[in-house]
C-alpha cells in the first residue's frame, strides 16, 4: 500500500520516530543479562543447591539487596502505565504515587529482621516454609503455597503479555522490527492451530523473545541471576530517569513554564470523524495513527485540531476513509476514532509548522464525547481530583487517594516476592543501608517521572490517542533536541528492565513453590539433591513456557489481573505474617482463618464488582479498595479465632520469641 504523501505533504510526519537504536540497545541488554546468568550458574556449582538457587545463600549485600527489592517492585507499569497516567491526568498523579516516599521504610522495615531471623533459625527457603515452620503446620504451609501458585500463575501470564505488549509498543515502526513482523506474518499464516493469535505477528515475536530470554536466564542462573540482573536493571531504570529529567525540563523551557501552561489546558474530546479526500485516491493509501488534522473555521475562530487514534485507509478510486478492521458495516467502518486536542495559544505557535502541513482532507465530526470530569475547565491538570474521561468524581477523589496511600505502602510489604528478598540479606547492617538506599532510589525515580511527563504534556500534545507510547516518544524527542539520538535507546531500555525484573521473580516464586513446598516438603522429603536439582530446572522451564503458551492467546483485562493478583496476595499474607512474626499468642488456627478470611473477602469483593459491572472489576465499599477491606477482615478474623482457640505450644513460643540459649 502506498502512502498518500505524494499528494498530501506531511502525511507520514507522525509515524514513529524511534530508530533502530532501541532494538540495538535491547540486543546489547539481552547479552548482558545472559552473561550474568552464566556467571550465576558457575557460582551455583559450589554451594548448597536449593538455598543458593532460591535464596542466594542468604548472602545479599547492600547493593544487591536494595536494587533487587526496588527493581522487583517496579514493573512495566512504572515506565509505561504511570507516565501515561501523568500525561493524561496531570499533577494530581504525584499524590497517587506519593506514598512511595514511605514505601521503603515500611515494606522493608516492617518484616525484614524477624522474617530473616526465623528463616535462618529453621533453614526455611521459601515464604510457605517460614509459615509452616513457625506453626509446625503442614496445612498452613500448603494453604500458603496454594495461594501463591494460584495468584502468581495468573500474574505471570499477565506479566508475559504485558512484557510483550510493552516491547511491541516500543519497537513499533522500528525498521528491523517491521521486517521481522512481515516474515513472521508469512510463517504463522501457515500454522492454522494458532487461530486468532496469528492476526498479530508482532505480538508473537515480542512474546517469544521476552519469554525465552526470561526463562533461560532465570532457569539457568536461579535467584542470584535474578538478583544480579535486577541490579543491572535497577541501574538502567534510575540512569534513564536521571538523564531524562534535565533534558525534559530544558526542552519544555522550564518547569514553571510547563505548570503555567498546564493551568490553561482543558481536557481533550474523544471524537469520531468522517474523513474525505477532495478527489478519489489514485491508489490504495492511508493516514497513519497519530496523524494531525485541522478543521478550519469560517467565523474567524482558531481551527479545531484533531489527532487520529485509528489508522484511516482509502481504497483506490474511493474518497471516504475507512477503518482497516475486517467485518465492520460500511457505516461503522467510516467512523474514524480521534482526539480533539485543546491546544493552548503557545502550543499552537510551537506546533504551527506541523499544523500548516496537515493533509488537505474534508473532515466531518460525527460524534464528540467530553471527559466526564473536568471537561471545558481550565486548571484541572494542576489541581485535584484531576480530569477523568470515565469517572464523575475525577481521577483521584480523597477516599481513593487514601486507599492508594495505604495500598502501595502495605501491599508491598505483603507481597511474598518481597518477603523472600527479606530472607536473603546477610545481616542487619546491610538491611539498614539498603533501606536508606531504596528510599533515595525511589526519590530519584518516581517524583522525577511526574515532572518529566508533565513536561511531555506541554511539548508533545495530542498523545491521548496512544498515551502508552509517551515514554519512548519523550525519550526520542528529548535526546534528539540535544543531538544525541542514540541516547534514546538507553532511555527506552528502562521499561524492558522493569518488566523483566518483575517477571523473573514471579517465575522463581512459582518454581520454588512447586519444587520446595509441594514436592520436597509434602511428597518426597528424602529426595536426593540431584533429583531436586533436575526437577528445579525442569519446573522453572516448564512453568515459564506454559505461561508463554497461555499468553499466546492474551487474556483480557491485563491491568485488572495484575492489580487483582497483587492485592489478593497482600490481602491474604500481610496480617497473618505480621502477627506470626510479632505476636507470641498467635496460633495456627488464627493464622489459617486470617489467611482464608482475607482471601475470601478479596475474592468476594471482586465477584460482586464483576457481577455488577459485567467485566472484571472490584466492588469498593465507601470508595475503599478490596485490599484495604480484605486486610481489615483478615486481621479481625485472625485475632478473633486466635483468642477463641487454645494458645500455641510452649516450645514454639520459646523457639521463635525467646533468646537462643548458649551452649
Amino acid at each position: 500500500m502506498s502512502s498518500l504523501s505524494h499528494g498530501l505533504p506531511g502525511l507520514l510526519a507522525a509515524s514513529s520516530l524511534v530508530s533502530n537504536a532501541a532494538i540495538i540497545t535491547f540486543a546489547i541488554y539481552i547479552v548482558g543479562v545472559l552473561v550474568l546468568a552464566w556467571l550465576s550458574n558457575r557460582l551455583l556449582q559450589s554451594k548448597s543447591f536449593l538455598s543458593e538457587y532460591f535464596l542466594g545463600s542468604r548472602s545479599l549485600g547492600v547493593w544487591a539487596f536494595a536494587l533487587t527489592f526496588a527493581a522487583t517492585s517496579s514493573s512495566g507499569g512504572s515506565f509505561i502505565g504511570f507516565p501515561s497516567f501523568v500525561y493524561t491526568h496531570g499533577w494530581i498523579v504525584s499524590l497517587w504515587i506519593g506514598s512511595y516516599m514511605i514505601v521503603p521504610i515500611v515494606s522493608m522495615g516492617l518484616l525484614a529482621k524477624r522474617i530473616n531471623q526465623i528463616a535462618r533459625r529453621t533453614g526455611a527457603i521459601t515464604v510457605p516454609d517460614v509459615l509452616r515452620d513457625r506453626f509446625e503446620s503442614p496445612v498452613f504451609g500448603t494453604l500458603a503455597t496454594s495461594l501463591i501458585v494460584f495468584f502468581m500463575s495468573f500474574n505471570l501470564i499477565a506479566q508475559f503479555k504485558g512484557g510483550a505488549v510493552i516491547l511491541q509498543t516500543l519497537l513499533e515502526s522500528v525498521p528491523l522490527f517491521e521486517q521481522a513482523r512481515d516474515v513472521t506474518s508469512r510463517i504463522v499464516a501457515q500454522l492454522p492451530f494458532l487461530g486468532s493469535a496469528a492476526n498479530d505477528p508482532g505480538y508473537l515475536i515480542c512474546l517469544l523473545v521476552f519469554a525465552v530470554v526470561v526463562v533461560v536466564y532465570t532457569a539457568y542462573g536461579g535467584f542470584r541471576a535474578v538478583v544480579w540482573t535486577d541490579v543491572m536493571q535497577g541501574l538502567v531504570m534510575v540512569g534513564g530517569v536521571v538523564i531524562m529529567l534535565p533534558l525534559a525540563i530544558y526542552a519544555a523551557g522550564g518547569l514553571g513554564h510547563v505548570t503555567r501552561q498546564m493551568a490553561q489546558m482543558e481536557p481533550p474530546k474523544l471524537v469520531k470523524l468522517q474523513i474525505e479526500l477532495p478527489t478519489p485516491a489514485t491508489a490504495a493509501a492511508a493516514l497513519p495513527k497519530n496523524q494531525w488534522l485541522r478543521l478550519d473555521s469560517d467565523d474567524g475562530q482558531p481551527p479545531r485540531i484533531f489527532r487520529l487514534a485509528d489508522r484511516c485507509t482509502f481504497a483506490a478510486g474511493q474518497t471516504i476513509g475507512r477503518l482497516g478492521t475486517a467485518g465492520l458495516s460500511p457505516d461503522a467502518a467510516r467512523r474514524i476514532g480521534a482526539v480533539e486536542v485543546m491546544l493552548t495559544d503557545e502550543q499552537r505557535t510551537r506546533m504551527a509548522p506541523t499544523l500548516a502541513e496537515t493533509p488537505a482532507v474534508r473532515i466531518e465530526v460525527l460524534e464528540s464525547v467530553e471527559y466526564v470530569a473536568g471537561a471545558g475547565r481550565r486548571g484541572v491538570f494542576v489541581t485535584g481530583p484531576g480530569p477523568s474521561p470515565s469517572s464523575a468524581a475525577g481521577f483521584l477523589p480523597l477516599s481513593l487517594a487514601l486507599s492508594f496511600f495505604l495500598m502501595w505502602t502495605f501491599s508491598g510489604a505483603g507481597q511474598p516476592s518481597n518477603m523472600v528478598r527479606l530472607m536473603a540479606f546477610n545481616n542487619t547492617r546491610t538491611l539498614r543501608r539498603a533501606m536508606f538506599t531504596v528510599s533515595i532510589y525511589y526519590t530519584l525515580i518516581y517524583f522525577p517521572l511526574v515532572m518529566i511527563f508533565c513536561c511531555a504534556r506541554y511539548v508533545l500534545p495530542g498523545w491521548e490517542t496512544q498515551s502508552d507510547r509517551i515514554m519512548p516518544e519523550m525519550a526520542h524527542m528529548t535526546t534528539a533536541s540535544i543531538g544525541l539520538p542514540w541516547l534514546a535507546g538507553l532511555l527506552v531500555a528502562a521499561p524492558f528492565a522493569a518488566v523483566m525484573s518483575t517477571m523473573d521473580s514471579f517465575l522463581l516464586m512459582i518454581s520454588s513453590a512447586v519444587v520446595r513446598d509441594i514436592y520436597q516438603r509434602n511428597l518426597n522429603p528424602e529426595a536426593s539433591e540431584r533429583t531436586i536439582k533436575r526437577l528445579t530446572y525442569a519446573v522453572t522451564v516448564a512453568v515459564g513456557l506454559g505461561a508463554m503458551l497461555v499468553a499466546v492467546y492474551p487474556p483480557a483485562y491485563l491491568q485488572d489481573i495484575i492489580v487483582f493478583t497483587g492485592s489478593g496476595l497482600s490481602t491474604s499474607f500481610l496480617a497473618p505474617v505480621i502477627l506470626a512474626l510479632y505476636w507470641p499468642r498467635f496460633n495456627k488456627q488464627g493464622a489459617i482463618a486470617g489467611m482464608l478470611g482475607g482471601f475470601l473477602a478479596h475474592i468476594l469483593l471482586y465477584a460482586i464488582g464483576s457481577w455488577q459491572q459485567g467485566s472484571m472489576a472490584a466492588y469498593e465499599p465507601w470508595g475503599f479498595h478490596p485490599f484495604v477491606v480484605g486486610c481489615i477482615v483478615s486481621t479481625i478474623v485472625a485475632l478473633a479465632v486466635t483468642c477463641l482457640t487454645p494458645p500455641p505450644p510452649e516450645d514454639l513460643v520459646r523457639k521463635f520469641f525467646h533468646a537462643e540459649p548458649s551452649r
Binding site: 529482621k113 531471623q117 475547565r377 485535584g384 536508606f436
Partner: protein, 138 residues
Amino acid sequence: MSSWSPTSGKDAEAGKSRPAYDPVFLNARRELLVIVVLFVIFCVWSLAVCYFWGYLPAGQELPEVSITLGMPSWVFWGIVAPWLAVDVVAVWFCFIYMANDDLGESHEGEDLAEQVQHLHESEGGQSGNGPSGKGNAR
C-alpha cells in the same frame, strides 16, 4: 555464635522457666511501632496538604496557579516536602535509631531434617540424618 536447639514441649511442661524475650524480636517490635507512627504522620501530612490546598471544588475554575520551584505549591508542600523529610528521617531511622542485631546462624536443611526425623519416628524407624547430609539439630 553457638548453634541453638529448640527446647522441647516436654521441658516446658516440666516447668522449665522461659528465657528472656529475644532481643531481635524486641528491637524489631519497637522499630515496627515507630514505622507505623511515621507512616501515619506522613500520610496525614501529604493527604491533608494536598486536599485542602490542591483540590478544586466542583464547578470552579482556577483563578491563578500558585507555583513553588516550578510546580504547583500544593505539590511542593504536600508531596515534595514530606518526601524529602522522609529521606532525612530515613537517615535517622536507618543509621541511628535502628539497632544492629545478630540474626543468627543459618540452619540450612534443619526444618527438612526434622520433618524426615518425624516421618521415620512415625513409621517406627530410627531417626537419622536429613537429605542435606547435615546432622539433626537434636
